[in-house]
């Protein structure tokens, strides 16, 4: 039952996507073209995210750690 209602819900979401982007009105080859374009863009964005975002986040994290790390050492010496 839960799987069925989940499938219905996903189908309903797909229908909403079709209505909003007007692919409901397109002929089959137009739909194919449109979905191929969309999926290609999405895959490229995800791939870029996968390659670059962890490296950028860890670099940024190290930068901030370095910044606060120095400050921490300084405060320790002053207090002591």
């Amino acid at each position: 039952m839960d799987i069925k209602s989940m499938k219905n819900y996903l189908y309903w979401l797909y229908c909403q996507f079709e209505l909003i982007t007007c692919s409901y009105l397109m002929e089959p080859w137009e739909k194919l073209l449109f979905y191929t374009f969309n999926v290609t863009m999405l895959v490229m964005v995800l791939y870029t995210t996968y390659i670059f975002v962890p490296v950028h986040i860890s670099t940024a994290f190290q930068f901030f750690l370095h910044l606060f790390g120095n400050q921490h050492e300084k405060t320790v010496s002053v207090v002591k």
Partner: protein, 560 residues
């Protein structure tokens, strides 16, 4: 909205400084009773307008939600891109071009078909064309039969399967009082006249086409409206477009509402007068234009205008709004201009006895200079009329293009109008007419209230039998029409260019012939389709009222 909470707050639930709370109806300490404002709906109550309105005027045009507007533009953007792609393919012969083009030999001439201007037609309208021009094959009453048709090449051509879809609930015909019937007193009278006079008149009104039936009809129409004299024409559109040029000319000023019908716009342009547009139903805009016209006169010569004519409609069929007639008449009297009221949709549909928007507001018909209307909507016939003072109508009999050149009304149609008008007035000895007018009012209130409670955005006045339901996105226009037909309900959907590009809508026309069961079926299906297509955009969250008993007459209710 938060109106119930606001009302509760305004009714003095908070204690005052000395610890005592106000009296039950919101009276403050010094006895001043606060009014109950409702910020979103425009309620021009008696207090606000110095006694012009005898009944509350509730009109509501909810704003388009921002997300919906953005997504609508996204949808149109995608379709435009694909339109360019298809045009490119058609130009380079990759795809067969199925719309009208010139012959090969004429390709070097000046283009006959405007290619780019039909971009919208070729690429957007064609995709959803199956929701329009549906052939019906029975009388367009409360239920109608339709011929089934399918298309194998995406709406460029249609073929009929031969099957007839029976008993579709008809929410699209302008059948306000249910006189579109093929049985009953109207039909019998029309059949008798047909066997007596025949169907054709074979002449214009001025030559040999003036039958005694026409004289009888005009006297009856004048009596119905409460004016001195009236004249009837064969076509409602032609009544407007051919008579406005007879009334105004160069050197006159026409002040026309933003959303006037094409017939009024055409008539105004044909007349050669200067046209100025005021914002829809906005009396401040109209007053400003009137003041400017009186103060500055004609543009270059500064002479006073020969005539100022205000063109308004009783009910605007795309918005469902009713004109603010008391204010328009007050302005007209103050600035000494003339008023032309087009009651195409409101005659028979508004007012306690169906006499139109003038009776709805409780005004005198003598205040409106030219009362125009059509017989197509509430009387189940065809044609239009103009009513007014005797001198005006005698002038129009001679100078109107329609009287001189157009064929006069066909006799069975005239008899249908006469019989239905007598029925509405109660002169046929029954109370059928009055019952129908009241049934329409009840149907209107019930249908609009239920749709608003479901969460749809509905435009227009609470009392107007034209109910526009907002769809916004182009794919939903086609989807709504198709889904409703699958569920055996016929609706009319409207998009650009009849409406602004993002405000496409489905327009329901209620009828006195609709029973409560039909309305309930229709509402259930609309609810289902609304959930399926996610059309419930409204953010007002009305508190559902306790269901009032359905056979209460609505004109004696008080607003709560």
């Amino acid at each position: 909205m938060e109106r119930p909470e606001r009302v509760a707050a305004a009714l003095g639930a908070q204690p005052r400084a000395n610890g005592c709370s106000g009296a039950a109806h919101g009276a403050l300490r010094n006895g001043y009773v606060r009014g109950l404002p409702a910020p979103d709906t425009q309620i021009n109550h008696i207090v606000h307008n110095g006694g012009l309105y005898k009944r509350p005027f509730n009109e509501d045009f909810e704003e388009t939600p921002m997300l919906v507007a953005v997504l609508t533009y996204v949808g149109y953007g995608v379709l435009t891109l694909f339109g360019y792609l298809r045009d490119f393919m058609r130009q380079w012969k990759i795809e067969k071009c199925q719309n009208a083009t010139e012959r090969e030999e004429q390709k070097d001439f000046v283009p006959l078909y405007q290619d780019f201007e039909n971009f919208y037609n070729r690429n957007l309208y064609m995709r959803i064309r199956d929701s329009w021009n549906r052939p019906i094959c029975s009388v367009p009453g409360a239920k109608v039969d339709m011929m089934e048709r399918i298309s194998h090449d995406y709406n460029w051509t249609f073929t009929y399967t031969g099957r007839v879809i029976k008993d579709i609930i008809n929410m699209g015909s302008y059948n306000y009082l249910g006189f579109a019937q093929n049985a009953g007193t109207c039909q019998e009278a029309a059949a008798k006249v047909l066997s007596q006079y025949g169907a054709g008149v074979c002449s214009t009104r001025q030559e040999m086409g003036n039958l005694d039936k026409h004289e009888e009809l005009e006297k009856l129409v004048a009596r119905f409206l409460g004016v001195e004299s009236a004249m009837a024409y064969g076509m409602g559109f032609a009544t407007n477009s051919m008579n406005i040029p007879a009334l105004v000319g160069k050197g006159c000023l026409i002040l026309s509402d933003e959303l006037n019908h094409a017939s009024l716009v055409l008539g105004a342009r044909l007349s050669g007068a200067t046209i100025r547009i005021f914002k829809h139903n906005n009396m401040q805009s109209l007053e400003k234009l009137l003041k400017d016209a009186i103060v500055h006169g004609q543009p270059r010569t500064r002479r006073p205008w020969k005539k100022i004519l205000i063109l308004v409609e009783g009910i605007y069929s795309m918005e469902g709004s009713i004109v603010r007639l008391p204010e328009v008449i007050a302005l007209k009297k103050k600035y000494k201009s003339y008023l032309y009221l087009d009651e195409a949709h409101s005659i028979g549909a508004l007012g306690p006895t169906g006499r139109g928007v003038v009776e709805y507001f409780g005004l005198s018909p003598e205040d409106v200079d030219v009362m125009m209307g059509t017989f197509t909507k509430s009387f189940g016939a065809a044609g239009g009329y103009i009513g007014g003072k005797k001198e005006l109508i005698d002038y129009l009999r001679t100078y109107s293009h329609s009287a001189v050149y157009a064929t006069s009304l066909s006799p069975p149609v005239v008899e249908q109008i006469i019989t239905s008008m007598k029925c509405i007035m109660g002169e046929d000895g029954t109370t059928v007419g009055k019952a129908r007018v009241q049934q329409l009012a009840e149907n209107t209130r019930y249908f609009r209230r239920r749709l608003k409670e479901m969460g749809f955005i509905i435009y227009g006045n609470e009392d107007s039998p034209v109910v526009p339901l907002m769809l916004y996105m182009p794919a939903k226009i086609g989807a709504f029409g198709r889904e409703m037909l699958k569920r055996n309900i016929g609706v009319v959907v409207v998009g650009f260019p009849a409406t602004p590009i993002i405000e496409s809508r489905a327009r329901f026309c209620l009828s006195a012939a609709h029973t409560k069961e039909m309305l309930d079926t229709a509402l259930k299906e609309i609810n289902e389709v609304g959930d399926l297509l996610q059309l419930k955009y409204s953010r007002h969250h009305l508190v559902p009222l306790l269901d009032r008993p359905f056979d209460e007459t609505t004109y004696e209710e008080t607003e709560d």
